[in-house]
Symmetry: C2
Subunit: 248 residues, 2 copies
């Protein structure tokens, strides 16, 4: 179902919104108070076949990060999820349900371990930031909880590896599923993770400087000219086929 | 700015959404993961004059309630806001900024005191539920924190009092600003508060049974036939004029 969306400053744009608008985005959802492109000019069927054969850029900046840093970051992260984090190493991504004290599901983020005292929960649609902040406050933990200026951009499809390697180097080809490398980009060290919401394989690039949004998009776009790169978004057909079912 | 909204089950409908769709709603925002009507067929100017002269029904079901009940409800409510709650009595509404431990604003709800151990924070757009739950958990408080099946419906405009009195009785005329009465409706005791997002005066009715949504809407609609009742939403011109400025 599609209807009119009246946007406002409360519904945040991402560093890539200008780019997807220029490419004809036709519908959005709101996730974490942020615009998520949900449709472009082509039909869901046409988009499905393109995603299965080529490569797409997805503006998934709405996947906000809840950052935990400090001596008690491990303690708080473990308090938030039933998944055992003891063997998690820096450079790994874990799928970590966040539950409340009655085991009710609050969110199903991917957790990235940046360092021994530094985590990012890359969240779905609820303000986990408030949950984490209040837990830290109530438990008197020594940890900084914040939402950093980090905006994921997904590269999905069978040619995603070729595209990412052409921009960030061949070492990205060896990144394993649910692991990440840090790669140089215009003076920043971006997290480049093999992950994302399709079965076709691909990467999520965690840009930590919103001012570089269109630069990152355009760099990938230009490098993908020969790969038939197109703008995209999680495809309903593909994700049902992949078992990546989603309430939203 | 208006664009396409792709809705899903993650973006909740309210018990009144069917009614506003039947009346030609043309645009929504998303607040608390819930649809908020933002425009109808008439222009903002035409809507402004109607609101100043007549009466409107606003689907503000997106104003979700964070309910605190139990022995430590007062303690938790006071922990959440810098406003002194000691003199607050049941039947009163307080405007209560919710802030974090750095005095950062998390939300600006209206707090309703239902009883000495029973509060509702009627919230703006952030998951205060998670903040309250985690504080209670971290501080080990004896309080139930939940989101009840409560859906506010606003009646705004100079004829709002006549309309509400015709449905809920003349005793509603004596309800003071930011106070509420409990009124019988189809076997429920609804909170009827003099409050709402316009300077024209009016009420917010807190329906605590979603199955009665269209019954409540239709009852007010039929009672308002002689009062030129119309569907509406917070009006940009009117709220700027009233100093009710809003980020969203």
């Amino acid at each position: 179902m599609s209807s009119g969306l009246v946007t406002s400053r409360r519904n945040r744009r991402t560093p890539y919104t200008d780019c997807v608008e220029a490419l004809g985005v036709s519908g959005f959802s709101i996730v974490n108070h942020t615009l998520l492109p949900k449709s472009f000019a082509r039909s869901v069927e046409e988009d499905y076949w393109h995603l299965k054969e080529h490569v797409q850029l997805w503006d998934v900046g709405c996947q906000r990060q809840v950052e935990l840093r400090g001596p008690d970051a491990v303690l708080l992260a473990q308090k938030m999820t039933p998944r055992d984090l003891r063997s998690m190493k820096p450079g790994q991504c874990y799928y970590t349900p966040v539950i409340d004290n009655h085991a009710g599901l609050l969110n199903d983020p991917v957790l990235l371990k940046r360092a021994s005292d530094w985590f990012w929960f890359s969240i779905a649609d609820s303000d986990v930031l408030l949950w984490a902040k209040a837990l830290a406050l109530g438990m008197n933990l020594d940890v900084q909880v914040s939402e950093p200026d980090v905006w994921p951009l997904a590269v999905q499809g069978p040619r995603a590896e070729d595209l990412v390697a052409s921009v960030f180097g061949d070492e990205t080809r060896s990144v394993r599923y649910f692991s990440f490398l840090e790669c140089d980009f215009h003076g920043r060290q971006l997290v480049v993770a093999r992950s994302g919401y399709s079965k076709q394989g691909g990467f999520e690039i965690y840009l930590d400087d919103s001012a570089l949004g269109s630069t990152l998009w355009d760099t990938l776009w230009e490098a993908g000219a020969d790969l038939q790169v197109a703008p995209g978004c999680p495809n309903l057909i593909e994700r049902i086929e992949a078992g990546l079912l989603s309430y939203g």
